[in-house]
């Protein structure tokens, strides 16, 4: 049973992933060898194109709180994956997994966003890696 559920959920995520669209040159902006996972409180949610952005206050390795920006897919692509402009609001606590910016700034490309209140994991789909060089 658990396996069936896992398979179904995985299939669902794959479907969503397929429809979440990408826009920009991932490799120009982000370093695929530098994954990042941060938990923090949303300070701003920009529901925009060519990419939506989430800003969170999160603790870094040394315990200092810093504001981080995470690039998501285009708002249009996120809509096709089930997001809306109301999916996140300031104050929501989220855990975001992604890839750090090449320029060393507190910016990253988000792959998944998990809402602490519900445990719901959202595919952020900021890039179309399947068809990128």
């Amino acid at each position: 049973m658990k396996l069936t559920l896992a398979v179904l959920v995985a299939a669902g995520l794959l479907l969503l992933a397929g429809s979440a669209t990408a826009h920009h040159s991932f490799s120009a902006e982000f370093d695929a060898t530098k994954p990042v996972k941060l938990t923090g409180s949303v300070t701003k949610f920009e529901w925009t194109n060519p990419h939506a952005w989430i800003y969170i206050d999160a603790k870094d390795e040394s315990g200092n709180v810093a504001n981080w920006g995470f690039e998501l897919a285009a708002a249009s692509g996120l809509m096709r994956s089930g997001w809306t402009r109301l999916t996140l609001k300031a104050g929501d606590v989220v855990t975001i997994e992604g890839t750090r910016a090449k320029n060393g700034s507190n910016n990253a490309n988000a792959q998944t966003v998990t809402l602490a209140s519900t445990g719901k994991k959202l595919f952020a789909g900021a890039n179309d890696q399947a068809q990128q060089p």
Binding site: M1, T4, L8, G12, W53, A74, G77, G82, T84
Partner: protein, 280 residues
């Protein structure tokens, strides 16, 4: 019992997923979509036709996510192109001239990809972008509206000929005329801007930076295989950049769930230049 539980849970998950996908997007299923016995769109039904008997290519189309390993295209079929690399299917790579070799090297960081700069994409980027495009087939012309990056393209099907190269000013989308060969729409385009302008974003066929120049003649063969599937075989003939013409295939699927194109204003919140250190 366990089986029933599985079915119920599966149905609930499927329902939850479909609601989350469609509820955000006003759905308005188009009339005339063929349905199967299960009531769902029958994508394998015959392609619709216009009153003059030609296949009707109209509809909203998404590229498929199918890829082929290099060198595995079935005999007689062009290899599938990908958004990032249209030459992905060629084991030996594309037939570059030295100009193309140099351009691809220069473009290795993908900093001037028109897609990333919110400029009009190259002709293959438009076909392969994961955002949809809508084909509107009219009696004298076909208009394609691309959701990504402000793409609007007119293909004249009123019998006019392709103008001489360089006669109209070169366009981002070139100048396109189309004619029917049986059930295949053959579109030829020239008068493209191209890599030799030296301006950022000009002359990119894909995310890797495979170039085209103002010498490009593009031939696209559109074939609506059935209701749900469109095949576009694209021939790149650009003697300045390539030693010989080559052809790649693009596959697209119809959007039949009643969903529409979504507004995409690329410069609304553009941070690419900032993130790549070219803007404060």
């Amino acid at each position: 019992m366990k089986g029933l539980f599985t079915v119920v849970v599966s149905a609930a998950i499927v329902a939850a997923l479909s609601v989350s996908v469609s509820a955000q997007w006003p759905s308005y299923p188009r009339p005339g979509i063929p349905k199967g016995a299960d009531g769902k769109p029958n994508l394998r039904a015959p392609a619709p036709r216009t009153p003059d008997g030609k296949p009707d290519l109209s509809g909203i189309w998404m590229r498929t996510n199918r890829t082929e390993a290099p060198g595995t295209a079935p005999a007689g079929q062009p290899p599938l192109a990908t958004f990032g690399d249209i030459g992905y299917g060629f084991k030996e790579g594309l037939p570059y001239r030295p100009l193309a070799v140099d351009l691809v090297k220069t473009r290795a960081g993908a900093l001037d990809n028109p897609d990333a700069l919110c400029l009009p994409q190259g002709p293959l980027e438009y076909h392969l972008d994961p955002q949809p495009r809508e084909i509107i087939q009219l009696p004298q012309k076909i208009v394609i509206v691309y959701e990504s990056n402000y793409g609007i393209r007119t293909i004249y099907t009123d019998g006019r000929r392709l103008p001489p190269q360089g006669e109209p000013q070169p366009y981002w989308h070139g100048y396109s005329v189309g004619r029917w060969e049986g059930d295949t729409l053959v579109v030829q385009s020239n008068n493209f801007r191209g890599a030799l302008t030296g301006l950022p974003g000009d002359g990119w066929l894909d995310g890797k930076g495979d170039p085209f120049t103002d010498a490009l003649t593009l031939t696209e063969r559109f074939r609506r295989v059935n209701f749900g599937n469109l095949q576009i075989d694209v021939t790149i003939d650009d003697p300045k950049a390539y030693t010989r013409p080559f052809t790649v295939r693009v596959e697209q699927e119809i959007v039949a769930d009643g969903s529409e194109m979504i507004e995409f204003i690329c410069h609304e919140n553009q941070k690419f230049l900032k993130l790549t250190g070219r803007e404060p």
